[in-house]
Protein backbone atom coordinates (compact mmCIF):
# COMPACT_ATOMS: atom_id res chain seq x y z
CA UNK A 1 0.00 0.00 0.00
CA UNK A 2 2.86 2.35 0.77
CA UNK A 3 4.12 1.79 -2.79
CA UNK A 4 0.87 3.17 -4.24
CA UNK A 5 0.96 6.20 -1.97
CA UNK A 6 3.84 8.20 -3.44
CA UNK A 7 2.87 8.07 -7.16
CA UNK A 8 -0.75 8.86 -6.26
CA UNK A 9 0.41 11.79 -4.16
CA UNK A 10 2.50 13.17 -7.02
CA UNK A 11 -0.35 12.72 -9.49
CA UNK A 12 -2.87 14.41 -7.19
CA UNK A 13 -0.58 17.31 -6.36
CA UNK A 14 0.31 17.86 -10.02
CA UNK A 15 -3.34 17.76 -11.10
CA UNK A 16 -4.41 20.18 -8.37
CA UNK A 17 -1.49 22.50 -9.12
CA UNK A 18 -2.40 22.63 -12.81
CA UNK A 19 -6.18 22.76 -12.29
CA UNK A 20 -6.55 26.46 -11.38
CA UNK A 21 -4.57 27.48 -14.47
CA UNK A 22 -6.68 25.26 -16.69
CA UNK A 23 -9.91 26.51 -15.15
CA UNK A 24 -8.86 30.13 -15.48
CA UNK A 25 -8.03 29.62 -19.16
CA UNK A 26 -11.31 27.82 -19.92
CA UNK A 27 -13.86 29.84 -21.89
CA UNK A 28 -16.96 31.33 -20.29
CA UNK A 29 -20.21 29.51 -20.85
CA UNK A 30 -22.65 31.51 -22.96
CA UNK A 31 -25.60 31.81 -20.59
CA UNK A 32 -24.05 31.46 -17.14
CA UNK A 33 -20.72 33.24 -17.50
CA UNK A 34 -18.32 33.14 -14.59
CA UNK A 35 -20.47 31.14 -12.19
CA UNK A 36 -20.38 28.12 -14.49
CA UNK A 37 -16.75 27.65 -13.49
CA UNK A 38 -17.96 26.07 -10.26
CA UNK A 39 -18.70 23.10 -12.56
CA UNK A 40 -15.02 22.15 -12.59
CA UNK A 41 -15.08 21.34 -8.88
CA UNK A 42 -18.74 20.49 -8.42
CA UNK A 43 -19.02 17.56 -10.84
CA UNK A 44 -15.64 15.98 -9.96
CA UNK A 45 -16.46 16.08 -6.24
CA UNK A 46 -19.68 14.19 -6.92
CA UNK A 47 -17.69 11.76 -9.07
CA UNK A 48 -15.38 11.22 -6.10
CA UNK A 49 -18.42 10.77 -3.85
CA UNK A 50 -19.85 8.11 -6.16
CA UNK A 51 -16.48 6.36 -6.21
CA UNK A 52 -16.20 6.41 -2.42
CA UNK A 53 -19.80 5.20 -2.05
CA UNK A 54 -19.19 2.34 -4.48
CA UNK A 55 -15.97 1.35 -2.69
CA UNK A 56 -17.89 1.41 0.59
CA UNK A 57 -20.68 -0.72 -0.84
CA UNK A 58 -18.43 -3.32 -2.44
CA UNK A 59 -16.21 -3.57 0.63
CA UNK A 60 -19.31 -3.94 2.80
CA UNK A 61 -20.62 -6.72 0.58
CA UNK A 62 -17.31 -8.59 0.80
CA UNK A 63 -17.25 -8.09 4.57
CA UNK A 64 -20.85 -9.25 4.95
CA UNK A 65 -20.71 -12.30 2.72
CA UNK A 66 -17.09 -13.41 2.99
CA UNK A 67 -16.50 -12.26 6.56
CA UNK A 68 -13.16 -10.58 5.79
CA UNK A 69 -12.69 -8.01 8.56
CA UNK A 70 -10.15 -5.91 6.67
CA UNK A 71 -12.87 -4.97 4.17
CA UNK A 72 -14.94 -3.49 6.95
CA UNK A 73 -12.14 -0.97 7.51
CA UNK A 74 -12.17 -0.05 3.83
CA UNK A 75 -15.94 0.41 4.07
CA UNK A 76 -15.58 2.86 6.96
CA UNK A 77 -13.03 4.86 4.98
CA UNK A 78 -15.30 4.88 1.94
CA UNK A 79 -18.27 6.09 3.98
CA UNK A 80 -16.34 8.95 5.54
CA UNK A 81 -15.05 10.08 2.18
CA UNK A 82 -18.54 9.87 0.68
CA UNK A 83 -19.72 12.27 3.36
CA UNK A 84 -16.81 14.68 2.80
CA UNK A 85 -17.06 14.79 -1.00
CA UNK A 86 -20.83 14.79 -0.87
CA UNK A 87 -20.70 17.80 1.44
CA UNK A 88 -18.46 19.64 -1.04
CA UNK A 89 -20.88 18.79 -3.84
CA UNK A 90 -23.93 19.78 -1.80
CA UNK A 91 -22.45 23.20 -1.00
CA UNK A 92 -20.92 24.04 -4.39
CA UNK A 93 -24.14 23.03 -6.15
CA UNK A 94 -26.47 25.51 -4.42
CA UNK A 95 -23.82 28.24 -4.70
CA UNK A 96 -23.97 27.71 -8.45
CA UNK A 97 -27.71 27.23 -8.50
CA UNK A 98 -28.36 30.48 -6.65
CA UNK A 99 -27.06 32.36 -9.68
CA UNK A 100 -28.03 29.97 -12.43
CA UNK A 101 -31.56 29.07 -11.28
CA UNK A 102 -32.29 31.92 -8.89
CA UNK A 103 -32.90 29.54 -5.97
CA UNK A 104 -30.56 27.89 -3.48
CA UNK A 105 -32.41 24.58 -3.58
CA UNK A 106 -35.13 22.76 -5.51
CA UNK A 107 -36.81 19.53 -4.57
CA UNK A 108 -36.30 17.89 -7.94
CA UNK A 109 -35.33 14.26 -8.46
CA UNK A 110 -31.56 14.78 -8.73
CA UNK A 111 -31.09 17.09 -5.74
CA UNK A 112 -33.45 15.17 -3.48
CA UNK A 113 -31.97 11.76 -4.28
CA UNK A 114 -28.41 13.08 -3.94
CA UNK A 115 -29.21 14.58 -0.53
CA UNK A 116 -30.86 11.34 0.58
CA UNK A 117 -27.87 9.27 -0.52
CA UNK A 118 -25.56 11.60 1.40
CA UNK A 119 -27.77 11.23 4.48
CA UNK A 120 -27.51 7.45 4.26
CA UNK A 121 -23.73 7.67 4.59
CA UNK A 122 -24.02 10.20 7.42
CA UNK A 123 -26.30 7.68 9.13
CA UNK A 124 -23.58 5.05 8.52
CA UNK A 125 -21.05 7.16 10.41
CA UNK A 126 -23.50 7.86 13.24
CA UNK A 127 -24.20 4.16 13.54
CA UNK A 128 -20.51 3.26 13.70
CA UNK A 129 -19.90 5.91 16.31
CA UNK A 130 -22.89 5.36 18.60
CA UNK A 131 -24.18 1.89 17.80
CA UNK A 132 -21.77 0.05 20.05
CA UNK A 133 -20.25 -3.32 19.24
CA UNK A 134 -21.90 -5.41 16.56
CA UNK A 135 -22.81 -2.40 14.47
CA UNK A 136 -20.30 -3.44 11.80
CA UNK A 137 -22.68 -5.88 10.09
CA UNK A 138 -25.62 -3.50 10.33
CA UNK A 139 -23.62 -0.65 8.82
CA UNK A 140 -22.52 -2.99 6.02
CA UNK A 141 -26.19 -3.60 5.14
CA UNK A 142 -26.80 0.15 5.27
CA UNK A 143 -23.87 0.73 2.91
CA UNK A 144 -25.37 -1.73 0.43
CA UNK A 145 -28.57 0.30 0.35
CA UNK A 146 -26.45 3.42 -0.06
CA UNK A 147 -24.52 1.98 -2.97
CA UNK A 148 -27.77 0.89 -4.63
CA UNK A 149 -28.67 4.57 -4.67
CA UNK A 150 -25.68 5.58 -6.80
CA UNK A 151 -27.07 4.54 -10.23
CA UNK A 152 -30.47 5.86 -9.17
CA UNK A 153 -29.05 9.30 -8.38
CA UNK A 154 -26.98 9.35 -11.56
CA UNK A 155 -29.88 8.39 -13.87
CA UNK A 156 -32.55 10.42 -12.03
CA UNK A 157 -31.72 13.48 -14.07
CA UNK A 158 -32.27 11.58 -17.35
CA UNK A 159 -35.50 9.86 -16.29
CA UNK A 160 -37.31 12.77 -14.66
CA UNK A 161 -37.73 16.35 -15.74
CA UNK A 162 -35.37 18.23 -13.44
CA UNK A 163 -33.89 21.71 -13.26
CA UNK A 164 -30.45 20.08 -12.98
CA UNK A 165 -28.46 19.58 -16.22
CA UNK A 166 -28.56 16.13 -17.76
CA UNK A 167 -25.71 13.61 -17.82
CA UNK A 168 -25.20 14.22 -21.53
CA UNK A 169 -23.66 17.63 -20.78
CA UNK A 170 -20.37 16.14 -19.62
CA UNK A 171 -20.16 13.81 -22.62
CA UNK A 172 -20.71 16.64 -25.10
CA UNK A 173 -18.38 19.23 -23.61
CA UNK A 174 -16.40 21.14 -26.19
CA UNK A 175 -12.61 20.50 -25.93
CA UNK A 176 -11.73 23.86 -24.35
CA UNK A 177 -13.99 23.01 -21.45
CA UNK A 178 -13.44 19.30 -21.63
CA UNK A 179 -9.71 19.47 -20.94
CA UNK A 180 -9.88 21.41 -17.66
CA UNK A 181 -12.77 19.19 -16.64
CA UNK A 182 -10.67 16.09 -17.27
CA UNK A 183 -7.80 17.52 -15.22
CA UNK A 184 -10.13 18.29 -12.31
CA UNK A 185 -11.84 14.94 -12.56
CA UNK A 186 -8.48 13.21 -12.46
CA UNK A 187 -7.43 15.39 -9.54
CA UNK A 188 -10.51 14.57 -7.48
CA UNK A 189 -10.54 10.86 -8.26
CA UNK A 190 -6.87 10.46 -7.37
CA UNK A 191 -7.41 12.60 -4.27
CA UNK A 192 -10.24 10.27 -3.30
CA UNK A 193 -8.01 7.22 -3.81
CA UNK A 194 -5.23 8.86 -1.82
CA UNK A 195 -7.51 9.74 1.07
CA UNK A 196 -8.97 6.26 1.03
CA UNK A 197 -5.50 4.77 1.45
CA UNK A 198 -4.72 7.21 4.24
CA UNK A 199 -7.99 6.63 6.06
CA UNK A 200 -7.68 2.84 5.79
CA UNK A 201 -4.19 3.20 7.25
CA UNK A 202 -5.76 4.96 10.25
CA UNK A 203 -8.28 2.13 10.67
CA UNK A 204 -5.52 -0.48 10.44
CA UNK A 205 -3.53 1.28 13.15
CA UNK A 206 -6.66 1.43 15.31
CA UNK A 207 -7.17 -2.30 14.83
CA UNK A 208 -3.53 -2.91 15.82
CA UNK A 209 -4.09 -0.83 18.93
CA UNK A 210 -7.20 -2.83 19.85
CA UNK A 211 -5.28 -6.08 19.41
CA UNK A 212 -2.46 -4.79 21.59
CA UNK A 213 -4.94 -3.75 24.28
CA UNK A 214 -6.47 -7.23 24.23
CA UNK A 215 -3.03 -8.84 24.38
CA UNK A 216 -2.12 -6.62 27.29
CA UNK A 217 -5.19 -7.63 29.24
CA UNK A 218 -4.40 -11.33 28.91
Amino acid sequence: MKKRFAPLLILTAAAFAYAPLAIQRAPYESTMGLVQKIFYFHVPSWMAMFLAATVCGIASAIFLFAGRKSYDRIAVAGAELSVVFGLIGLITGPLWGRKAWGVWWQWDARLTSALVMWLIFVAYLLLRKYGGSGSEKLSAVLALFGMANVPFVYLSVNIWRTVHPKTSVVMTLEPDMGRPFLVCALAFVSLCALMLLTRVQLENRRAELDELFLALED
Binding site: M117, V122, L127, G131, G134
Partner: protein, 247 residues
Protein backbone atom coordinates in the same frame (compact mmCIF):
# COMPACT_ATOMS: atom_id res chain seq x y z
CA UNK B 1 -18.81 -21.46 18.16
CA UNK B 2 -21.35 -23.79 19.70
CA UNK B 3 -24.33 -22.00 18.22
CA UNK B 4 -22.78 -22.17 14.75
CA UNK B 5 -22.38 -25.96 14.90
CA UNK B 6 -25.97 -26.35 16.08
CA UNK B 7 -27.12 -24.18 13.22
CA UNK B 8 -24.93 -26.09 10.74
CA UNK B 9 -26.24 -29.48 11.83
CA UNK B 10 -29.75 -28.11 11.71
CA UNK B 11 -29.09 -26.90 8.16
CA UNK B 12 -27.82 -30.33 7.17
CA UNK B 13 -30.90 -31.98 8.66
CA UNK B 14 -33.10 -29.57 6.77
CA UNK B 15 -31.42 -30.21 3.47
CA UNK B 16 -31.78 -33.97 3.76
CA UNK B 17 -35.57 -33.69 4.09
CA UNK B 18 -37.16 -33.31 0.60
CA UNK B 19 -40.21 -31.51 1.95
CA UNK B 20 -37.94 -28.96 3.63
CA UNK B 21 -38.21 -26.30 0.92
CA UNK B 22 -42.01 -26.12 1.03
CA UNK B 23 -41.83 -25.35 4.72
CA UNK B 24 -40.40 -21.88 3.96
CA UNK B 25 -43.89 -20.44 3.82
CA UNK B 26 -45.01 -22.67 6.67
CA UNK B 27 -42.20 -21.32 8.85
CA UNK B 28 -43.00 -17.75 7.89
CA UNK B 29 -46.67 -18.29 8.66
CA UNK B 30 -45.79 -19.86 12.02
CA UNK B 31 -43.81 -16.81 13.01
CA UNK B 32 -46.46 -14.39 11.76
CA UNK B 33 -49.14 -16.30 13.58
CA UNK B 34 -47.11 -16.27 16.79
CA UNK B 35 -46.72 -12.50 16.56
CA UNK B 36 -50.38 -11.93 15.77
CA UNK B 37 -51.56 -14.19 18.59
CA UNK B 38 -49.31 -12.50 21.11
CA UNK B 39 -50.44 -9.11 19.88
CA UNK B 40 -54.08 -10.09 19.94
CA UNK B 41 -53.82 -11.19 23.56
CA UNK B 42 -52.43 -7.89 24.83
CA UNK B 43 -53.26 -5.52 21.96
CA UNK B 44 -50.57 -3.27 23.41
CA UNK B 45 -48.74 -2.35 20.21
CA UNK B 46 -51.91 -1.93 18.14
CA UNK B 47 -53.56 0.47 20.55
CA UNK B 48 -50.47 2.54 21.25
CA UNK B 49 -49.46 2.75 17.60
CA UNK B 50 -52.98 3.66 16.55
CA UNK B 51 -53.24 6.39 19.15
CA UNK B 52 -49.87 7.72 18.14
CA UNK B 53 -50.87 7.79 14.46
CA UNK B 54 -54.03 9.67 15.26
CA UNK B 55 -52.15 12.19 17.40
CA UNK B 56 -49.68 12.62 14.55
CA UNK B 57 -52.47 13.41 12.11
CA UNK B 58 -54.00 15.87 14.56
CA UNK B 59 -50.76 17.67 15.32
CA UNK B 60 -49.87 18.08 11.66
CA UNK B 61 -53.40 19.03 10.72
CA UNK B 62 -53.44 21.82 13.31
CA UNK B 63 -50.08 23.09 12.03
CA UNK B 64 -51.61 23.58 8.59
CA UNK B 65 -54.92 25.07 9.64
CA UNK B 66 -55.77 28.45 8.13
CA UNK B 67 -58.92 30.28 9.26
CA UNK B 68 -60.30 27.17 10.86
CA UNK B 69 -59.96 25.01 7.75
CA UNK B 70 -57.25 22.44 7.33
CA UNK B 71 -55.18 22.82 4.16
CA UNK B 72 -56.52 20.55 1.43
CA UNK B 73 -53.20 19.81 -0.20
CA UNK B 74 -51.64 18.62 3.00
CA UNK B 75 -53.80 15.51 3.33
CA UNK B 76 -51.56 13.10 1.41
CA UNK B 77 -48.38 14.31 3.10
CA UNK B 78 -49.88 14.12 6.57
CA UNK B 79 -51.23 10.63 5.97
CA UNK B 80 -47.81 9.33 4.95
CA UNK B 81 -45.99 11.13 7.75
CA UNK B 82 -48.35 9.47 10.20
CA UNK B 83 -47.67 6.09 8.60
CA UNK B 84 -43.90 6.62 8.68
CA UNK B 85 -43.78 7.80 12.31
CA UNK B 86 -46.20 5.25 13.68
CA UNK B 87 -44.52 2.55 11.60
CA UNK B 88 -41.17 3.34 13.19
CA UNK B 89 -42.77 3.17 16.62
CA UNK B 90 -44.49 -0.14 15.84
CA UNK B 91 -41.24 -1.66 14.56
CA UNK B 92 -39.43 -0.63 17.70
CA UNK B 93 -42.11 -2.03 19.98
CA UNK B 94 -42.51 -5.26 18.05
CA UNK B 95 -38.81 -6.09 18.27
CA UNK B 96 -38.52 -4.88 21.85
CA UNK B 97 -40.55 -7.94 22.77
CA UNK B 98 -38.05 -10.18 21.00
CA UNK B 99 -35.17 -8.47 22.72
CA UNK B 100 -36.48 -8.81 26.24
CA UNK B 101 -36.59 -12.58 26.11
CA UNK B 102 -33.78 -13.01 23.61
CA UNK B 103 -36.27 -14.92 21.50
CA UNK B 104 -34.84 -13.67 18.23
CA UNK B 105 -31.60 -15.49 18.89
CA UNK B 106 -33.64 -18.60 19.69
CA UNK B 107 -35.37 -18.16 16.34
CA UNK B 108 -32.03 -17.85 14.62
CA UNK B 109 -30.84 -21.07 16.21
CA UNK B 110 -33.73 -23.14 14.89
CA UNK B 111 -32.98 -25.13 11.72
CA UNK B 112 -35.10 -23.02 9.39
CA UNK B 113 -34.39 -20.74 6.46
CA UNK B 114 -33.38 -17.41 7.93
CA UNK B 115 -35.23 -15.48 5.17
CA UNK B 116 -38.38 -17.29 6.33
CA UNK B 117 -37.94 -15.68 9.74
CA UNK B 118 -37.59 -12.31 8.03
CA UNK B 119 -40.73 -12.82 5.93
CA UNK B 120 -42.63 -13.96 9.00
CA UNK B 121 -41.69 -10.87 11.00
CA UNK B 122 -42.39 -8.64 8.00
CA UNK B 123 -45.87 -10.06 7.55
CA UNK B 124 -46.61 -9.46 11.22
CA UNK B 125 -45.52 -5.83 10.99
CA UNK B 126 -47.53 -5.36 7.78
CA UNK B 127 -50.67 -6.76 9.42
CA UNK B 128 -50.23 -4.31 12.28
CA UNK B 129 -49.71 -1.34 9.96
CA UNK B 130 -52.68 -2.38 7.83
CA UNK B 131 -54.91 -2.09 10.87
CA UNK B 132 -53.48 1.33 11.68
CA UNK B 133 -53.88 2.59 8.11
CA UNK B 134 -57.42 1.26 7.87
CA UNK B 135 -58.36 3.60 10.68
CA UNK B 136 -56.14 6.59 9.95
CA UNK B 137 -57.05 6.91 6.26
CA UNK B 138 -60.78 7.50 6.87
CA UNK B 139 -59.78 9.92 9.62
CA UNK B 140 -57.67 11.90 7.19
CA UNK B 141 -60.55 11.78 4.70
CA UNK B 142 -62.84 13.17 7.37
CA UNK B 143 -60.54 15.98 8.46
CA UNK B 144 -59.44 17.13 5.03
CA UNK B 145 -62.40 16.23 2.89
CA UNK B 146 -60.16 14.01 0.84
CA UNK B 147 -62.02 11.77 -1.65
CA UNK B 148 -60.88 8.47 -0.22
CA UNK B 149 -63.67 6.30 -1.64
CA UNK B 150 -63.48 7.52 -5.24
CA UNK B 151 -60.50 5.40 -6.23
CA UNK B 152 -60.37 3.20 -3.15
CA UNK B 153 -58.66 0.27 -4.85
CA UNK B 154 -55.85 2.35 -6.30
CA UNK B 155 -55.45 4.16 -3.00
CA UNK B 156 -55.29 0.85 -1.15
CA UNK B 157 -52.69 -0.41 -3.65
CA UNK B 158 -50.58 2.72 -3.14
CA UNK B 159 -50.80 2.41 0.63
CA UNK B 160 -49.98 -1.30 0.49
CA UNK B 161 -47.00 -0.87 -1.84
CA UNK B 162 -45.60 2.02 0.19
CA UNK B 163 -46.07 0.24 3.50
CA UNK B 164 -44.38 -2.90 2.16
CA UNK B 165 -41.35 -0.86 1.06
CA UNK B 166 -41.17 0.96 4.38
CA UNK B 167 -41.70 -2.15 6.51
CA UNK B 168 -39.28 -4.28 4.46
CA UNK B 169 -36.37 -1.99 5.31
CA UNK B 170 -37.69 -1.34 8.80
CA UNK B 171 -37.98 -5.01 9.75
CA UNK B 172 -34.43 -5.66 8.55
CA UNK B 173 -32.93 -2.81 10.53
CA UNK B 174 -35.06 -3.28 13.64
CA UNK B 175 -34.02 -6.93 13.80
CA UNK B 176 -30.36 -6.04 13.44
CA UNK B 177 -30.54 -3.22 15.97
CA UNK B 178 -31.84 -5.47 18.75
CA UNK B 179 -28.47 -5.79 20.37
CA UNK B 180 -27.14 -2.33 19.50
CA UNK B 181 -26.76 0.63 21.80
CA UNK B 182 -29.07 3.66 21.38
CA UNK B 183 -31.33 1.49 19.23
CA UNK B 184 -34.37 3.71 19.80
CA UNK B 185 -32.87 6.73 18.11
CA UNK B 186 -30.80 4.75 15.61
CA UNK B 187 -33.78 3.09 13.94
CA UNK B 188 -35.27 6.36 12.60
CA UNK B 189 -31.77 7.61 11.69
CA UNK B 190 -31.11 4.53 9.57
CA UNK B 191 -34.64 4.04 8.29
CA UNK B 192 -35.69 7.48 7.06
CA UNK B 193 -32.94 8.26 4.55
CA UNK B 194 -33.48 4.92 2.84
CA UNK B 195 -37.26 5.06 2.82
CA UNK B 196 -37.60 8.73 1.85
CA UNK B 197 -37.98 7.75 -1.84
CA UNK B 198 -40.82 5.40 -0.88
CA UNK B 199 -42.53 8.11 1.16
CA UNK B 200 -42.09 10.63 -1.65
CA UNK B 201 -43.60 8.26 -4.19
CA UNK B 202 -46.44 7.43 -1.80
CA UNK B 203 -47.20 11.10 -1.10
CA UNK B 204 -47.10 12.03 -4.77
CA UNK B 205 -49.30 9.12 -5.80
CA UNK B 206 -51.81 9.72 -3.02
CA UNK B 207 -51.75 13.45 -3.65
CA UNK B 208 -52.61 12.91 -7.27
CA UNK B 209 -55.61 10.82 -6.19
CA UNK B 210 -56.82 13.46 -3.73
CA UNK B 211 -56.77 16.28 -6.27
CA UNK B 212 -59.93 17.79 -7.70
CA UNK B 213 -59.05 16.63 -11.24
CA UNK B 214 -57.66 13.18 -10.68
CA UNK B 215 -54.81 12.07 -12.94
CA UNK B 216 -55.15 8.27 -12.94
CA UNK B 217 -52.21 7.43 -15.26
CA UNK B 218 -49.95 9.52 -13.01
CA UNK B 219 -51.18 7.69 -9.93
CA UNK B 220 -50.53 4.37 -11.64
CA UNK B 221 -47.04 5.56 -12.56
CA UNK B 222 -46.26 6.32 -8.94
CA UNK B 223 -47.67 2.92 -8.00
CA UNK B 224 -45.29 1.20 -10.41
CA UNK B 225 -42.38 3.21 -8.96
CA UNK B 226 -43.42 2.02 -5.50
CA UNK B 227 -43.55 -1.57 -6.70
CA UNK B 228 -40.04 -1.15 -8.14
CA UNK B 229 -38.77 0.11 -4.78
CA UNK B 230 -40.51 -2.79 -3.03
CA UNK B 231 -38.82 -5.34 -5.26
CA UNK B 232 -35.37 -3.77 -4.74
CA UNK B 233 -35.77 -3.43 -0.97
CA UNK B 234 -37.23 -6.87 -0.32
CA UNK B 235 -34.59 -8.50 -2.51
CA UNK B 236 -31.77 -6.65 -0.74
CA UNK B 237 -33.29 -7.49 2.64
CA UNK B 238 -33.70 -11.19 1.87
CA UNK B 239 -30.15 -11.29 0.57
CA UNK B 240 -28.54 -9.62 3.56
CA UNK B 241 -30.72 -10.85 6.44
CA UNK B 242 -28.87 -14.10 7.07
CA UNK B 243 -25.25 -12.84 6.98
CA UNK B 244 -26.24 -9.80 9.00
CA UNK B 245 -27.89 -11.82 11.77
CA UNK B 246 -25.06 -14.34 12.02
CA UNK B 247 -23.04 -13.83 15.16
Amino acid sequence: MASESVVASGDRAMRSAPAARSSFLATAWLITRKDLVIEFRSREVVYTTLFFAVSCVLVFAFSFVKEGVAAQDAAAGILWIAIAFSGTLALGRAFERERQNDTLRALMLTPVDRPAVYIGKLAGVLALLAVVEAIVTPLVALMFGAPVLDHALLLAALLAAGTIGFAAVGTLFAAMLIRARSRDVLLPILLYPITIPVIIAGVRGTGVLFQADVDLPMARLWLSILVFFDLVFVTLALWTFEPAMKE
